[in-house]
Structure formats: C-alpha cells, structure tokens
Symmetry: C2
Subunit: 414 residues, 2 copies
Amino acid sequence: MTHTRTTRLERGRSALGPALELVHTGRAPTRAVLTSELGVTRATAGAVAAELEALGLIVVDSRPTSSAGSQGRPSHRLFLDENGPVVLAGQIHADGYRVALVGLGGRIVATVSGCGTIPADPAHVLAEAVAAGSGLLERTGRRCLGAALAIPSAVAEPDGEALNPLHLAWPSGAPVRRLFRRALAEAGIPGVTTAVGFTGNDVNLAALAEHRHGAGRGARDLLCIASGHRGVGGALVLDGRLHSGSSGLALEVGHLTVNPEGAPCHCGSRGCLDVEADPLAFLGAAGRTPGPEGSLLRQATDLLREEYQDPSVRAAADLLIDRLGLGIAGLVNILNPDRIILGGLHRELLGADPERLRAVVAERSLWGRSGGVPILPCTLDHNSLVGAAELAWQPVLDDPLVVLEGEDREAGPV
Amino acid sequence: MTHTRTTRLERGRSALGPALELVHTGRAPTRAVLTSELGVTRATAGAVAAELEALGLIVVDSRPTSSAGSQGRPSHRLFLDENGPVVLAGQIHADGYRVALVGLGGRIVATVSGCGTIPADPAHVLAEAVAAGSGLLERTGRRCLGAALAIPSAVAEPDGEALNPLHLAWPSGAPVRRLFRRALAEAGIPGVTTAVGFTGNDVNLAALAEHRHGAGRGARDLLCIASGHRGVGGALVLDGRLHSGSSGLALEVGHLTVNPEGAPCHCGSRGCLDVEADPLAFLGAAGRTPGPEGSLLRQATDLLREEYQDPSVRAAADLLIDRLGLGIAGLVNILNPDRIILGGLHRELLGADPERLRAVVAERSLWGRSGGVPILPCTLDHNSLVGAAELAWQPVLDDPLVVLEGEDREAGPV
DNA sequence: TTGCTTTGTACCGGCAGTAAACAAAATACG
DNA sequence: CGTATTTTGTTTACTGCCGGTACAAAGCAA
C-alpha cells in the first residue's frame, strides 16, 4: 500500500481535544479559565473556542453577563450546545434494556427502556434496543456521532465477547460487540460511521461516568466497586482513562477472598467477594429468601432501608460491610487509589454505616492506616448509560475535527 | 508573580523525547525505523537525530555498513553515545549499598558497593553512598545529569518517606528522599541540578528497568513480583509508566491471602503472601533453619538449586509455587497484565517448575482460563539499580533539551 | 471622570513538521 | 559490466499552530 503514515490527523489544533474535554467535564466555564487550564495564550484559547463553536459543539454566550463581584472585564460564558449532536448509549441489565441519546456533558436528551425477561438470544435484544434508539433519533431529529453499549459482564478485548454473563442467560463468549455493530449496521443509523459501536462492562462504564460527571470528579486514580444483581464488579480509572487491562478483564474483583470459611464459589475457591457481598448474600445473611417480585438489588435495598432497625438486618449489614471492607482494603493495598466510590448495594451499605466501613478499610490497609482513602457513594443517575456515552464520545473528545467527517458524507459523495 | 504560564518547554521539537526513548530502549537502530516508529517523515527523523547528536546523547555512524542482504541503500546506524552523560544511581539493600554511574540504555559505566551492616541512621548511609558516587564521577570525569535511589521499602509520596523498612533497622517514616537530596547537595555534585534526586521502591524500579531493557520489553501492562529478603514486593508498569499509586503505596501485594490457615502476619490477618512465599518461608517449609552465613535469598536459592532432588526441598518448592500462584492469580484477576515477570526467590521458583506455576495461575484466574499470561523470569543484572537510573533519566527522556541547562550554567553565569 | 484590572481580538513571526524533488548507496537483472 | 530498482538521506519550499505583542472592550475603584 502506498499510504505514507503521517501524523496529520493527530496534530491539527492539538489543543482542541483537551479544550473540549474541559468544557465537557465542566471545568472550563469561560475562555479565561480555558486559557489557564490549557496553559496557552488568550489568543489561542479564543481561537480554539471559536473553532469548537464552528463545529457546533459549544456555544459562546457573549451577552453582558452578571458581573460576579470580581474586578475586570467579565468573561463570556462557554456552554455545551444543547442542540448539538448526541451519541446513542445502551445498557443491558438483568431486567431489560435501556437506550438513551446522550449529549456532551453527560446530558441525557431522551431515553426509552424495555422491560421484561431478556431472551437467551443476544442478537434479538440488541436489535430491539438499537431499533428503539433509532426511533429516538428519528423522533428528535438529532445528529448521531456514535454508539456504545454497557453490559453486565466482563467484556473480553480485543473482540468484545461477553464472558460469563451470568444474569443474562446468554452463552459465555457471546460476540456482543460484533452483534451490536451488526445491529447498528442493519438499522442504518445515519452518522454512526466514525465510531462503530463500542461495548464495555457496566461497572467500568459507571466508573468512567462518575469520574467525569459525578462523585469521581477530580480524582486521579479512581476505584469503583458495585454490586447490582449477582456478584461484585470493580473498575479503575487511571489518569482519566479506564484501565480495563490487556484483555479487558481487569478489576474482576469478585474473587478476592474475604471470608476464608465462607461459601464455595464457582471459581473453585471459597468465601469470594462475589458470593459474600452481593444482594443475595445480604438477603441470606438477614435470613430472608429472595422473592419473585423485583430485582435482587431492589429487594436488598428495600430491606436495608426499611428494616434497618431489625437486629437481624442490622447484623447482616454489619457483616457485609466487614466483608466488603476487607475486599476494599485488599484493593487499596494493590491499587492505592485516591478515591473510592461505591455503587449498587455497596452504596446502600456505605449509607447505612459509613464509619464502620471506613474503619475496616483503614484497619486492614497500609495506606488506610497512614491517612485513609475517601470512600463515597455514586451520585449519577444511570451512570452505566452515561458511561457508555462517554465511550462513544471519546473519539470526538480526542479530536473534535472528526465531527466534520460525517458532514462531508452528508454534503455529497463524490 | 508575573510568570505567564506558557507551554514553551513542552513543545520545542516534540518528537525529540519519543525519539530518544526509542533509541534508549533499543527500538530505533536506524533513522529509517525511527521514521516509521515516530510516524514522521524522513526529513523530520533526520533533523531529530541530528539534534540528539548535537546534544551529545547519540552518535550517528555513517560509515558504509555491512549490507544485511536487504535491498536499497543501507541505513546509517544510531548508537547511544558511550561517552555521553550519566546519572548517579544508588541502591540500599539488606547487606549494604551499591552505587553506579549509568548511561542511556541502562548501561552501567562504573560501579562501587559497600558491604556490611547498614547502620540505623539512614543519613549516614546515604552520605556514604553519595560520597562513593561522587568519587566515581571524579574518577571517570563524566558529566552527571541526575541521581536516584532505590530502597527496599514502600516509598510514600509525595515526600518520599520510607514506610516499614523492615530489613534496614531504619525508623518507619524516615524521610529518605529529603536525606538523599541533602546528601547530594552537601556533596556538591556538579550538574545534579535539573533532577534533584529521586527515590523509589526497589521492586518498582526493577520493574521499570525490566520493562525498558529486560524481560518486560514490549509489554504494555507489566506486573512484577519479587522477593529478595523478607516479604514480597510487587510493581506495575502501565503504558511505560510506573504505577505507584496516589501516595506511592500501590502494589503492596504482600497481604494477599494465599493460605487461609497460614501463619499470622503483622498486618493482623493470617496466611499473607508476605509470610507464606518469601525466602524465610521457603527455608521453613523445607525444614531448615536460616544460618548466619549469607542473605536469606542466597540461602534459599542455594538450597533450591543444589538440593532440589531432596524430597523435602522439592515439596517446599511446590508448596511455595502453589501459594505464589494463588497470589498471582488474584493479581491477574484485578490487573489483567499482559506479562508477568518474577524476581528474587520467585524467579528461582519459576525456574524450578515453570509448568506448575503456570497451571496454578491458569486454574485460578479468569483470564488464565481463557488464554493465559506469559510468566517470565527477570533477566537484567542489578535491575533495581538500572531502574533507579531510569528514574533519573526520565526528565531527559521527556525533554532532551534539558541537557542544555547544565551547559548554560557551566558556560558562564550572568 | 480617570485609572486599574481582566478579558477578548488582530496581527506578526518563529518553527516544527509535511511534501516533494533530488542525491546517494546498495541490490537485481539484463 | 551497466542499467533499473529500491531504500535511505538531504535539501528546499510551504503550511499551520501557537507565542508574543499591541490594542480594544468592559467592568470595578477612587
């Protein structure tokens, strides 16, 4: 091939991507702070902002602003364009699927969800979800720049197979990414050309979303632990990037030993976090049997919130907090994050007795003893969905000029 | 302050750093591959190489090369300048210290070591080591661009205190980095101005060295486990950069549980890797009592190598391999590295029965079951020392123009 | 009103790096 | 043996990002 590999695309206005990311994460409300955050001159920041505006991604409000008491000429404000392009984000969970159009800044523009039992055939669900998303796009008339999907199982890289999707009745190794991309192609969504459909683990994506727009903002190394239905998931964001390991299987934290005399786990060991600190374990520890109504998470959460006075419930909560703390302490010794956020049942456990959890972690971790890690609850609604959107937005954040590609195509093929 | 924050220094020939790193790690033997590796034009690669040569870091050999059978005009060869500047690297270990001058490419130019019991006062040892290094510099007449130190304990960031330096009889929390810098300042080493003396954990630095020059070359996510004297150390290199956590305490892998019924550990738990898979544990498992002669590692290594036929030794090795494998499997589930390298006793254990270790890891890790991680022995001599040198070289690799700063100063102060 | 401070813009210049043409040094093939 | 081909290195414009500076704008303070 005669393609001489150049760096052309990687260069072009190199400050453009970082600038968009700053506005996207709410860290650049004005051109002035854009100037200082980027470390460029005012001239450059102005040019960059103008270019982002020309791309239809941000809006500069140059009306006389209410002076905020500070001296000097007031800044013009930078906003993300509320009518700008969106990405298609989907999430598959134990009870159904949810699809949303998400703009920059993690703003959910429109959403639709399908409930009911997920059939054993992933292709069918994906087609249904993509069709729903396509419908949203038609209804809203938004331009779509990409698509991504969050699923509740490990996603093996580089091909994106779902590994052990236990609560979906899908076969392990199902080529979810390929099926998703095929569904996108068959739906023929205009504009979904630059980004061909990403897929990721739901907890990973939740962590990404929380890092950019939620409880993880500003953290450099963010650890996220969550339990939604069965088992425990983990995720790690390093320097703003998801660490999913060389084959996408990092942070499979479910098999940390937290109870040497505990229940046997399907991994062959016993007392794994997976079987000792998920909703089912909590219900069991409280002496309840899971009912047919509502998800395990819902049942566990309701029990925790409504019957915390009940000594058996309280004891079960304490037990799970201790186990979770042990697992977190192990992770802290290995990863030494500067913040930890908890989702799902673990978020509720943290809410029930924050001090107990922090004490366990501090006692059992080297760093805990010498200071301690902030442990916070997740704050974002639909964080997996927003995280999927982050995945889909990433190419644009890396180089905002890619939005031009679709326009070229629309303008007229040669 | 009127210092308007510019990006000046970050720009200036942005391909210079990556180019030097390529030559430094042996991945750019000619300008031609430099061209393709950097993704720039031949013109740029040529200019960059010329500039690195002008800086006195590399040498271009333009003599007629022995044609290697390939077609076309033969490339000129790129070499690191063997007479170029060096950095001062030091290592403190249980039996003494070692100091070396290290050039680019991890080449040890000169070395000196001091044996004997390390006194309880860190400042004294550091002064002695720095004096030895200063002597080396005077003897060789080399220009020195920086200094760094490897110590066998966790190094707390951002200030560089030694945490729990168990085998050094130093107080925990000793401000090693500050003491090291003070020793450097008092020794008045000319040139050590740009880099003010780094400090790091020895296993971390060994991993860094192996990643750049040894068994870890080419790995993206490299996990290193090693046991030298007491306890077990770990390190992780991500995308070519050491991951030492937000406060420098990452990869404290010693407290992974690998034997629920095991010996109590000072961390409060029992059966930790620290007490179940270090040289002392091996000697104990083989029914030997450590003697006064030689380090624990040496005794364990000798036993393993010379008496492997002895059933009790063999059984002890198998036991430690199983425990180590369990620990590694846990780490693989969490970090999903694409390569693992083992040092110290663990390197010997791997050599004794590679298949057993790989089988345990494969059986107990999610990723292991679906493919497996390469597990290799460390290959570099004095890898901690070379790793310390990497730390000291880093500013130059980031921006080779910093070597001019010292020259300016030497040329003549205003 | 006159400063002072901060923000935004216009214009110039430096310079890294592309592109293209040319030169050099080897092999391949008649 | 000589010419074509291939690969590498170099020279010469030329493009475009961005720094620097000067100037204008828009608010406070006195």
